[in-house]
């Protein structure tokens, strides 16, 4: 940009395969003041629809990308600038941005980060990284999810950290065999990837972020490998109370068709319009891979005892926190969507000693519905490490 005071708003990159995004609606207009985390625009991609939140505060001086227009990833779609930036300066910046948008997808856009694999106990575990500097963050998805569950968070976090996300056994492109479906099998896979990313990142410890079942797994890793975990951010973690929407879990495992799956997946979100046809199709394609049906049904045994939760993460957390000085000092945060319909948000109160973040307007997937607030919680947790 021509002037350091002009802050561009860029088309985000939501997932490795995203090359273009389309603005379906602008939430803000020229002249509006925005704060960090404010909704800026609704964006549609081949894979998913989402809302872009402001990463910077300021005054919207120019809206560049038109509604319905395809914009390449990282193309500038709007400009923030203080009032003393002149119209001529803004015009020059708009002209540059317009040229990028009109040029379409750049030739080198195909160079997506390589998917990596680790062999953990004979299982192939997939993971992908982003970011080149800073501390190491490892993201652990929940039941039926995969590393792409973090697509709205990966790029913003990668600006300051080395961010890795893995596919748990039975999920994504990792091996589909989950053995006896115990938490140990999942925790071992995470520890295996953790070791690999710590070595390649030259770090001793990583910050673990776990969602739902992945929260319980992250806790189990902290218990078994305490020296390698610097902080824990648990997003709607399982195991902090008996209540859970067992119908959701069984419905997800059992759904065989798009018709069956769509209403089930809708329960994950406060705003069900996020569940596009492509989201359901991608989940169905995953569920139809050999071995996935068995894996998901086996893992139900880890999560459910009748219609209640089977895991006891509260006890694991107590053990982690009670394990000497380091355990007591381990920063732990819990993030919960206020409108969670899978695990009720009041279980956040049972995460003893944790900093609590309750996210309004989000269901069981706050990292997809309100990513900026989840990002802030993760960064604050990391900052608490002494």
């Amino acid at each position: 940009m021509t002037d350091g005071r002009i802050v561009p708003v860029a088309m985000p990159k939501w997932g490795l395969s995203m090359q273009l995004g389309k603005i379906t609606a602008w939430v803000v207009g020229e002249g509006d003041e925005v704060s960090i985390g404010d909704d800026l625009a609704d964006i549609e991609t081949e894979k998913i629809n989402g809302t872009l939140e402001a990463a910077d505060a300021g005054t919207v001086r120019r809206i560049i990308a038109r509604v319905g227009e395809d914009v390449p990833v990282s193309g500038t779609i709007a400009l923030l600038a203080p009032a003393d930036v002149t119209e001529a300066e803004l015009d020059a910046a708009v002209e540059q941005a317009r040229a990028v948008i009109d040029a379409g997808i750049p030739d080198e856009a195909g160079d997506a980060p390589e998917l990596q694999t680790a062999d953990v106990g004979g299982r192939k575990i997939s993971y992908a990284g982003a970011g080149t500097d800073g501390e190491v963050i490892l993201l652990v998805h929940g039941y039926g999810g995969d590393r792409n569950s973090w697509l709205f968070l990966t790029e913003p976090l990668a600006a300051r950290y080395r961010v890795y996300a893995l596919d748990l056994p039975g999920h994504g492109t990792s091996a589909k065999d989950v053995g006896d479906g115990s938490i140990g099998v999942l925790a071992d896979a995470v520890t295996g990837v953790l070791d690999a990313v710590l070595i390649s990142g030259g770090a001793d410890r990583a910050h673990l972020v776990g969602h739902s079942m992945g929260g319980a797994v992250a806790l189990a890793v902290a218990a078994s490998a305490p020296g390698r975990v610097a902080s824990l951010t648990l997003i709607a973690p399982s195991g902090f109370g008996p209540e859970i929407n067992a119908g959701y879990l069984r419905g997800f495992a059992d759904a065989q068709t798009r018709r069956e799956l769509k209403p089930v997946v809708g329960q994950l979100f406060a705003d069900e319009s996020l569940v596009t046809r492509q989201v359901v199709d991608d989940l169905l394609a995953y569920k139809r891979l050999d071995g996935v049906d068995e894996a998901l049904h086996t893992l139900l045994g880890l999560l459910l005892d009748g219609d209640a939760q089977a895991t006891d993460s509260a006890a694991v957390l107590a053990a982690v926190k009670g394990a000497g000085e380091a355990g007591g000092a381990l920063p732990v945060s819990v993030v919960w969507g206020a409108a969670d319909r899978v695990i009720p948000a009041d279980q956040a109160e049972r995460v003893t000693g944790a900093a609590r973040y309750v996210v309004d307007g989000a269901g069981h997937m706050p990292h997809m519905e309100r990513p900026a607030q989840v990002q802030a919680a993760i960064e604050e947790t990391i900052a608490r490490v002494s």
């Binding site: 068709t257 046809r277 394609a285 139809r288 891979l289 050999d290």
Partner: protein, 337 residues
Amino acid sequence: MARNITYREAVNEALAQEMERDETVIVMGEDNAGGAGSPGEDDAWGGVLGVTKGLYHKFPGRVLDTPISESAFIGAAIGAATAGLRPVAELMFVDFMGVCFDQIYNQAAKFRYMFGGKAVTPVVIRTMYGAGLRAAAQHSQCLYPLFTHIPGLKVVTPATPYDAKGLMIQAIRDNDPVIFFEHKALYDLSGPVPEESYTLPFGEANVVREGGDVTIVTLGRMVHTSLEAAEQLAADGVQCEVIDLRTTSPLDEDTVLESVEGTGRLVVVDEAHPRCSIATDVSALAARKAFGSLRAPVEMVTAPHTPVPFSNALEDLYIPDAQRVVNAVKTVAGWTR
């Protein structure tokens, strides 16, 4: 991990993965290896358009070149299926079905029924179909309606590499005879396909584009023609819902009817001849079960009721194109009593 491979490679990968998983799966057909028995010429062909290439050396003894005698080797495949193997027989061009039709429609299709469910016939008959390759009247037909007509056969017409792999794996694992139609003009089509094995259920249509104004029901190569038309129509403000049937037997009636109930307007796009066809079948379905929802007569876009012409100019006119689909959609969209 999904990567882009062609329709041809997707079928080959499905065969390879199922042969790896299940040693009762065998492949047979004319030149499925090619040059077998001639020194230095093993696996020269992989079938006439190369779909089975590479399998001969990966699975010794399980890729059989057959004589040019469809009645013999299709019969052998069906017999082997009843005796415990899972043969995938390639009947080069569907146009040659005539010489082995008894084995298919009067034997394979009937065994499970006539033996009270005690016999299964897990055979897959792969066959190429469709016009566009300048192969004239005897090598270009779309004969899936003939097989769809026969109870006891399952009929599959994948339109994309992803569907080709998932439907082929399902076909091999299925215990009934499956006629698997591969459109010659789609073999080089590329698209994302997971490396892992997966199955797509039979009888589940795929809504490949959503829209509220007009329903287009189609299959095979015509899925792409219909999508091209839908794209043009969207620019004119007409939103089409495009449904790829994926399998004509079983037929996913629910997905068709739900869409027609929403739009009230139906165009069926089918490369086959117009009589006693998938187009007439789906039209009748809508007329019988969604009559109250229809706001215009059903339109069909098909080939004419003639053999496929040898003349290039006439063959191009013979195959339904996007403009004809656009015209049909505009007819139903603008229809008033």
